[in-house]
């Protein structure tokens, strides 16, 4: 069993099942540090519907114990909206699902990338049932201590047009397509 098959067997939600489990396939289509468009805002047309199973998978992966996080029956009676509560870093799931291969933010899926720092601001708590889109731009590209960094600023928007959260995500990337190729084909 290769690794993609191993991961496919772990899939427990509809989004996990439909996601591409071969991370390295199509690496040639990834935006690299040297060709990432900067300060060119775009809106991602896909809609991420927050399903209860997505939230439960995230909360359980973290070992959460509060029943408002992991017990739908308890949440129905005690949570403000009757659904399990969403962890703020769940935004990661939304970003990875929306930033499909070939998109301007596809560099978050670059093999060989490193994660130095992140910032999330929550304006309104995400909820099960939210229908979310993303507005995003690569806000900066810089070199620090000889390493190539890129920062994206993404805003998560609900079906009413309200801004729910913002993330400033920074990665250190392999600088050139040749560097990416070395990691992708190792």
């Amino acid at each position: 069993m290769n690794n993609a098959e191993r991961l496919k067997a772990l899939a427990a939600t509809a989004k996990q099942r439909e996601f591409d489990h071969d991370f390295l396939a199509g690496w040639e289509g990834c935006i690299t540090w040297e060709d990432a468009p900067v300060r060119q805002p775009m809106v991602y047309p896909r809609v991420f519907v927050v399903e209860e199973e997505d939230v439960l998978a995230y909360n359980r992966a973290l070992g959460e114990t509060d029943p408002l996080f992991v017990d739908p029956a308890y949440a129905r009676d005690h949570a403000p909206h009757g659904t399990v509560l969403v962890h703020p870093v769940f935004i990661t799931t939304i970003a990875f699902w929306l930033a499909s291969k070939g998109s301007p933010m596809s560099w978050i899926r670059t093999p060989g990338a490193r994660n130095p720092f992140q910032r999330i601001e929550v304006k309104r708590r995400l909820e099960v049932g939210d229908r979310l889109t993303m507005r995003q731009e690569n806000s900066d590209r810089f070199i620090r201590r000889g390493k190539p960094y890129i920062t994206t600023h993404a805003t998560i928007i609900d079906e009413h047009g309200a801004e729910k959260a913002e993330i400033w995500a920074t990665l250190i990337l392999p600088p050139t397509r040749e560097d990416v190729r070395r990691f992708a084909t190792v």
């Binding site: 690794n3 991961l7 772990l10 899939a11 427990a12 989004k15 996990q16 996601f19 489990h21 991370f23 390295l24 997505d54 998978a57 995230y58 359980r60 992966a61 973290l62 070992g63 959460e64 114990t65 509060d66 029943p67 408002l68 996080f69 017990d71 308890y74 005690h78 403000p80 509560l85 962890h87 703020p88 870093v89 990661t92 799931t93 990875f96 699902w97 899926r109 093999p111 060989g112 990338a113 490193r114 994660n115 130095p116 720092f117 992140q118 910032r119 999330i120 601001e121 929550v122 304006k123 708590r125 990691f183 190792v186």
Partner: protein, 153 residues
């Protein structure tokens, strides 16, 4: 099992320590987080690739930075309950966390912000350390909290 009671801002003072959390980082832990976050980067999810690529000069897979960020955020939820209204998390990752690590997360109230406009919040400094005592990540977590009834803003 019930949810902890959300504290009042007025119950907290700077220097208040939150109960620490300890996480064992196994490949199962990493796999569960990777699937839940859809971050299937082989540096986390593929032991064979990691051994060949050695992105961090180490043949082992490493935990997701976003998992460490989640652990540091969860410290607040374990202490204050899931209804804690976290408004910002600012994280820096300082050392890779290879599979097999033990991560201990500690936090302390750094600032209390009694704004008096319904947006009162505290800032909690969180540190995560590995089994060697090395810091693997730090965060500042802002949490909006209610005021105690009858307290002047």
């Amino acid at each position: 099992m019930t949810t902890p009671r959300l504290p009042y801002l007025d119950d907290l003072q700077t220097g208040y320590m939150l109960p620490e959390l300890v996480y064992e980082v196994t490949q199962d832990t990493i796999d569960a987080y990777g699937m839940a976050s859809l971050d299937l980067n082989p540096v986390h999810m593929d032991p064979g690739w990691s051994a060949r690529a050695q992105v961090f000069d180490d043949p082992r897979t490493v935990a997701h930075g976003m998992m460490s960020m989640s652990f540091m955020t969860s410290l607040v939820y374990r202490a204050f309950g899931a209804q804690a209204d976290i408004s910002a998390v600012d994280s820096k990752f300082t050392k890779p966390v290879p599979v097999g690590s033990t991560v201990t997360v500690q936090g302390m109230v750094r600032d209390v912000h009694p704004l008096g406009n319904g947006e009162d919040f505290v800032t909690i400094n969180v540190e995560a350390r590995d089994q060697h005592g090395d810091i693997i990540g730090v965060s500042a977590v802002d949490v909006r909290l209610p005021r105690k009834p009858g307290v002047r803003p």
